[in-house]
C-alpha cells in the first residue's frame, strides 16, 4: 500500500507533462516519454561529469527543456496546426520525433543500461511489521507531489497559467481578450516538456534506463491522463496514485502478473461510468 502510494507519486511526476500537453492543449504528444528519457540522460551526464544530484540537474535543465519544448511546438504549429492538419499528421510528427530522439540518444550514449546511485538511494526507513519506505521511491514521490502542487498553483494563480486554462477552453474568446493563443500554447508546451526534465531525472534514479525505455511508459502516461480526466492536474495525481496502489496491491497479494491488467481494467471501468475521467470537466 505504502509502496503503491510512493509509486503513484512518481507516476504523477512523469505524467504531468502529458496531462498539460495532451489534456489541456489537445496535442497528442506521444514523444513526451522520449523527452523524459532525454531528461534521464541529462541527469546522467551531469552526475557522471560533475557529480550533481539527479534532482538538482533535473531542476537545472528545466529552462533548457522549456526552450526545447517551445521550439518543438513552433515547428509543430507552423507545419501542422496552422493548416488545420493537426490530428493525424501531428500524431505522425510526434511519433517520428520519438524515434529520432531514441536513435539520437543511442548514437550519442550507446545502448548500455545507465542508472544513478545517490547517497540516499540505498537507504530506507523501517516502519516495523515488514513495512518500510525506500528513499529511492520516497524522494521521487515527494518531488512528484511538489511538481503537481507547483503546476496546480501555476495554472490557477498566475496570468499565464489562467491563460493556458483559457486557451484549452476557448481559443477565440482568448484572442478577443487580446492574448495570442499561439504564444500561450508555446509556453504551455514548454512547461510540459520542462516537467519531463524532472520526471526523467527521477526515473533514472529509480530504474536503469536505455534509449528505448520510453516505450514502457507511453501507455501508462496516457492512461493516467485519461483516467484523471483530461487536463485536470489534481486528477492526474489521483489517477497516478490509483494506478500505483492497484499495481502494488495486486503484486503483493494476487501475483504480479495481474497488476497491469487490473490497472487498465480499472481505466476501462472508469471510462465506462465517467467518460470524461475521474475529474474531467
Amino acid at each position: 500500500m505504502v509502496a503503491g502510494l510512493l509509486l503513484g507519486g512518481f507516476y504523477a511526476a512523469v505524467s504531468l507533462g502529458v496531462s498539460l500537453i495532451f489534456g489541456l492543449l489537445d496535442i497528442a504528444n506521444i514523444a513526451q516519454p522520449a523527452f523524459v528519457i532525454l531528461g534521464s540522460y541529462a541527469a546522467y551526464v551531469m552526475n557522471s561529469a560533475f557529480g550533481f544530484d539527479p534532482i538538482l540537474s533535473g531542476l537545472l535543465f528545466t529552462p533548457v527543456f522549456f526552450v526545447l519544448g517551445a521550439v518543438v511546438y513552433r515547428v509543430y504549429y507552423e507545419s501542422f496546426e496552422r493548416r488545420g492538419e493537426e490530428s493525424l499528421r501531428g500524431l505522425v510528427f510526434f511519433f517520428g520525433l520519438l524515434f529520432i530522439m531514441e536513435v539520437s540518444l543511442s548514437l550519442a550514449f550507446g545502448v548500455d543500461y545507465r542508472l544513478l546511485q545517490t547517497a540516499y538511494t540505498s537507504k530506507s526507513i523501517d516502519l516495523g511489521g515488514g513495512v518500510g519506505i525506500a528513499f529511492r521511491y520516497l524522494v521521487p514521490c515527494v518531488v512528484g507531489l511538489a511538481m503537481t502542487l507547483a503546476l496546480y498553483l501555476f495554472l490557477g494563480r498566475t496570468f499565464y497559467g489562467r491563460a493556458i486554462m483559457a486557451v484549452s477552453q476557448d481559443r477565440l474568446a482568448l484572442r478577443l481578450m487580446g492574448a495570442d493563443p499561439v504564444q500561450i500554447k508555446t509556453i504551455a508546451f514548454g512547461v510540459g516538456i520542462a516537467a519531463a526534465s524532472l520526471g526523467g531525472a527521477l526515473l533514472i534514479s529509480i530504474a536503469p534506463v536505455i534509449p528505448s525505455t520510453d516505450r514502457d511508459y507511453i501507455g501508462r502516461m496516457f492512461a493516467i491522463t485519461v483516467l484523471g480526466g483530461m487536463g485536470s492536474i489534481g486528477g492526474t495525481l489521483v489517477a497516478a496514485v490509483i494506478l500505483g496502489v492497484s499495481e502494488s496491491l495486486m503484486s503483493t497479494f494476487f501475483g504480479p502478473s495481474w497488476s497491469l491488467a487490473v490497472s487498465f481494467g480499472l481505466l476501462l471501468t472508469v471510462l465506462a461510468v465517467r467518460p470524461a475521467g475521474l475529474f474531467g470537466r
Binding site: A3, V103, D112, Y113, A207, E247, T252, S257, L260
Partner: protein, 417 residues
C-alpha cells in the same frame, strides 16, 4: 593515322578493363551477411556482437583473408523487431548475394530466420538463441551460447546443483520471473530441477515485463521466508529486484540464478557492492580458469574499440562468443576449401574447434554437445568503479567444477558485507 591512335586507345582500354575485372574477381570478398539489433531493446547486446565480428573480420583480413580472399561483413539493423528479419535476409541473399549468413542476436530474432534458412538449405550460425531448433531439428543450425543439449535447464542447472550441495541442505525455494520468453523457459527448467533435487516451492509467480516497482514482489517473497530465491529477469528488472531486496532486507541463503543484466559492465559498476553474494549465471569471467588461448588479445582489441562504438566497455558477456562464431566459420571455410553450405555444415558438425571461448563441439540440435553455463558469485565488490572487475576475485566461478576458481560464500548474508 588518327584512326590507329583511336583504335589503339580503345584496345588498350578494353585490355585494361579486362585485367581490372580479373584482378577484382581474384580478390572478390567473401561476404558474410546478417541482421543485428543495433537499436531497440536488445541493442545493448547486438552492438557488442557486431563489434566482435568486425574484430574477427579485421584479424582475418590482416592475415590475408580466407582462401586468399578478403572477408566482408554485410549487415542491417533489425531494430530488435522480428518482423524485419525475413526482409533483411531476402535482401542479403538475393540482392547483396552474400556467401554465408549468421543470425542476429537473440532468440526472438533467430526464430524468423529458421524457416528461411531451411527452405534455402543454408548453414546458420546462431548467436545466443535459446532452444530455437528444438522443434525444427534442422541439421545445419549451430548455436554458440554454451547452453548444451537441454537449453531450458542450462541456466538454473548450476544454481540448483550448488544449492543441493550446501550443508545443511536448503529446503524451501521461491522462484520469480518476467512474463517473457527467456524467463518463462528458465522457470520451466527451475521447476523440473526443484522436483529433481527434492526442494519445496513456497512462491512461484511471474510479473509483467514493464514492472517499475519490485518492492511488493520482494515483500511477498520475504513473507514466505524461503531458503533459496531463484530469479529469471531481464536487465531493468534484475536491478529493480536487487535494489528492492536490499531495501526490504530479503536474506535467503542463496539468491540469484538467471538474472540477465548483472553481467553488463554499466550495471555492475553502478550497483557495485549490492552484488556481493549474488550467485548468477554467466558466460565468462576474468578468472584464471577461463583464460583460453587468444582471449586476452581479443579483449585488448575489443576494449580499445568499445568506447568509440558506444558498447559495453569490458565486453565479458557475449562478445567473445560472437568472435568465436567467426573463428568457426573461418576454420570451416579453410578446411573445406570452399563455400559450399552443406560441406561447411558437415565439417562444423564433425569437428571440435579451438576458439577464444575454449573448445567448442556441437551436438544435438546444433547446441554445444556439453553445456557450460557458468555460475559465478560476486565477492568483495567495493564501491562503484569499473576497474575492479578487470581482474580475478570479483566474479568467482563456482560451477562447473572443471572451471571452478574459488569457493562459494554461504549463506548469502555472509558475503553481503
Amino acid at each position: 593515322m588518327r584512326h590507329w591512335v583511336l583504335i589503339a586507345a580503345v584496345v588498350g582500354m578494353v585490355v585494361l578493363a579486362a585485367v581490372g575485372a580479373f584482378v577484382a574477381q581474384a580478390a572478390d570478398p567473401i561476404k558474410i551477411g546478417f541482421g543485428m539489433a543495433l537499436t531497440g531493446g536488445l541493442s545493448a547486446n547486438g552492438k557488442p556482437a557486431l563489434l566482435a565480428l568486425q574484430i574477427w573480420k579485421d584479424d582475418v583480413n590482416k592475415k590475408g583473408g580466407l582462401l586468399g580472399r578478403p572477408v566482408e561483413l554485410v549487415y542491417y539493423d533489425d531494430q530488435t523487431n522480428p518482423a524485419t528479419v525475413p526482409g533483411i535476409y531476402s535482401k542479403l541473399l538475393d540482392v547483396d548475394k552474400v556467401d554465408l549468413i549468421t543470425s542476429g542476436y537473440g532468440t526472438n530474432l533467430i526464430a524468423p530466420l529458421m524457416p528461411i534458412a531451411m527452405e534455402r538449405k543454408l548453414l546458420v550460425m546462431g548467436i545466443f538463441g535459446l532452444a530455437n531448433n528444438e522443434k525444427y531439428k534442422y541439421p545445419n543450425y549451430f548455436q554458440i551460447s554454451p547452453n548444451g543439449p537441454d537449453p531450458e535447464i542450462s541456466t538454473p542447472l548450476g544454481f540448483f546443483e550448488l544449492a543441493a550441495r550446501q550443508n545443511p541442505k536448503p529446503q524451501t525455494v521461491a522462484i520469480v520471473g518476467a512474463d517473457a520468453e527467456y524467463p518463462q523457459n528458465a522457470l520451466v527448467g527451475a521447476r523440473d530441477l526443484i522436483k529433481k533435487f527434492g526442494f519445496k516451492t513456497v512462491y512461484d509467480k511471474t510479473y509483467p515485463p514493464s514492472t517499475v516497482d519490485f518492492t511488493p514482489i520482494v515483500r511477498a517473497i520475504k513473507a514466505t521466508n524461503p531458503d533459496v530465491v531463484f530469479v529469471a529477469s531481464y536487465p531493468p528488472d534484475s536491478v529493480g529486484m536487487l535494489r528492492a531486496a536490499h531495501e526490504i532486507g530479503l536474506q535467503p541463503k542463496l539468491f540469484g540464478g538467471g538474472m540477465v543484466g548483472l553481467q553488463f559492465t554499466s550495471v555492475m559498476a553502478s550497483v557495485g557492492p549490492m552484488l556481493n553474494g549474488i550467485v548468477n549465471y554467466d558466460f565468462w569471467a576474468p578468472e584464471s580458469t577461463m583464460m583460453f588461448p587468444g582471449i586476452k588479445e581479443f579483449f585488448k582489441d575489443y576494449q580499445a574499440r568499445a568506447e568509440k562504438a558506444g558498447v559495453d566497455p569490458l565486453g565479458y558477456y557475449l562478445p567473445p562468443y560472437s568472435y568465436a562464431v567467426g573463428q568457426i566459420l573461418g576454420q570451416a571455410i579453410e578446411a573445406t576449401k570452399g563455400l559450399d553450405q552443406q560441406k561447411l555444415a558437415d565439417y562444423i558438425r564433425a569437428t571440435e574447434f579451438n576458439t577464444i571461448v575454449g573448445k567448442v563441439k556441437f551436438g544435438k540440435n546444433g547446441e554445444w554437445a556439453k553445456g557450460r553455463t557458468l555460475m559465478v558469485q560476486y565477492q568483495k565488490v567495493q564501491g562503484t568503479g569499473i576497474d575492479q572487475f578487470r581482474g580475478p576475485g570479483k566474479k568467482v566461478v563456482l560451477y562447473p567444477d572443471e572451471l571452478k576458481s574459488g569457493n562459494i560464500i554461504y549463506p548469502y548474508s555472509a558475503a553481503k558485507n
